[in-house]
């Protein structure tokens, strides 16, 4: 798992670290993790004002292009513990692939798995699989195509 985290982390410069604050709410901040190979942990700097407390945490890496495409993501579950001054240790416990990092085969696996999850969601509630109104969606897509972009793309 550590090797997987290290390999995928290389493609992202500022992952999102999320822990819990003193009120029990998620608190997220961008960080620059530094791998500690010996301990197989990630060292992160958290400013003193950050409201994150030690305990469960996660690290999200994701990205997209200007047109919200080429989506890539993965998440790492773990724990966060102070290591002196403003340095904390993120200890990974589980790598969770998102989309766009496992190639076409991974995308197909992802879609089939989500189809199964959706089927179970409906079955447990005794609901039939609904039919999507594709014509309605296509009509909306056509309208969107004929509108100007939301703003100039930088």
């Amino acid at each position: 798992m550590w090797a997987e985290v290290r390999r995928h982390l290389r493609g992202f410069s500022s992952p999102v670290l999320t822990g819990l604050d003193v009120d029990g709410y998620p608190f997220s901040i961008r960080c620059s993790p530094e791998p500690d190979e010996a301990q197989q942990v990630l060292r992160v700097h958290l400013p003193g004002w950050a409201r994150i407390r030690l305990g469960p945490a996660s690290l999200l890496c994701h990205g997209h292009n200007q047109l919200l495409w080429n989506l890539r993501s993965f998440m790492v579950r773990g724990t966060l513990e102070p290591a002196g001054s403003e340095t904390w240790l993120f200890r990974p416990t589980r790598f969770v692939p998102g989309i766009g990092i496992s190639g076409l085969a991974g995308m197909v696996r992802f879609a089939f798995a989500k189809r199964r999850t959706a089927r179970r969601y409906l079955e447990r509630r005794g609901l039939p699989r609904p039919t999507i109104d594709w014509a309605q969606l296509k009509a909306l897509q056509a309208r969107a195509r004929h509108q100007s972009p939301p703003h100039p793309v930088r």
Binding site: T18, P47, L122
Partner: protein, 168 residues
């Protein structure tokens, strides 16, 4: 009601393509994934949705409503030097599967304008069979409790904090 936050923060809410949305798993771990947020200025709330193929966010919210939304990636927003913003709040995710875009036309239209390649999921019968689960959605509504923002997106400095009583 009008949310008394700086205009540049509201612009972030309206223009950022994604936010990093966190919910709490059953063991208390904050689980964060990118989401497409929609800000409703009339109520000061955020709306987003998730597929029933990815229902964990909704399950987490039904068990513990505490969530956060971090707006920290301006890619594609067209905004120059925007602040980074963290919204902490309470969410609801009713167990009602929505398959119609009725009531969401503006949001769906905005998604297709911002993500034109997204039409590939509906482009032919095979793709529609393959991805129909994606269009079976659960609505999530977030009521902010605290908003923190960092001018110029500089997360190394202390944020400005707006507490719930001031945000509607």
């Amino acid at each position: 009601m009008k949310v008394p936050i700086p205009a540049e923060v509201e612009a972030v809410f309206r223009e950022f393509r994604t936010c990093e949305f966190s919910t709490l798993a059953s063991d208390g771990t904050p689980i964060t994934w990118p989401m497409l947020p929609f800000f409703r200025g009339s109520t000061g709330q955020f709306m987003t949705t998730t597929s029933i193929g990815l229902p964990d966010k909704a399950f987490n919210i039904r068990r513990n409503p505490r969530v956060s939304l971090l707006f920290s990636d301006p890619t594609g927003s067209g905004l120059f030097d925007p602040p980074a913003v963290l919204v902490q709040g309470d969410a609801v995710a009713p167990d009602e599967v929505k398959t119609s875009i009725g009531g969401f036309e503006n949001e769906v239209m905005l998604v297709y304008r911002r993500q034109p390649a997204g039409t590939m999921y509906t482009s032919n019968p095979a793709m529609r069979w393959f991805s129909d689960w994606y269009f079976m959605r659960l609505e999530i509504t977030v009521t902010p409790r605290r908003i923190l923002f960092w001018e110029h997106g500089d997360l190394s400095t202390a944020p400005t904090v707006v507490e719930a009583i001031h945000v509607g």
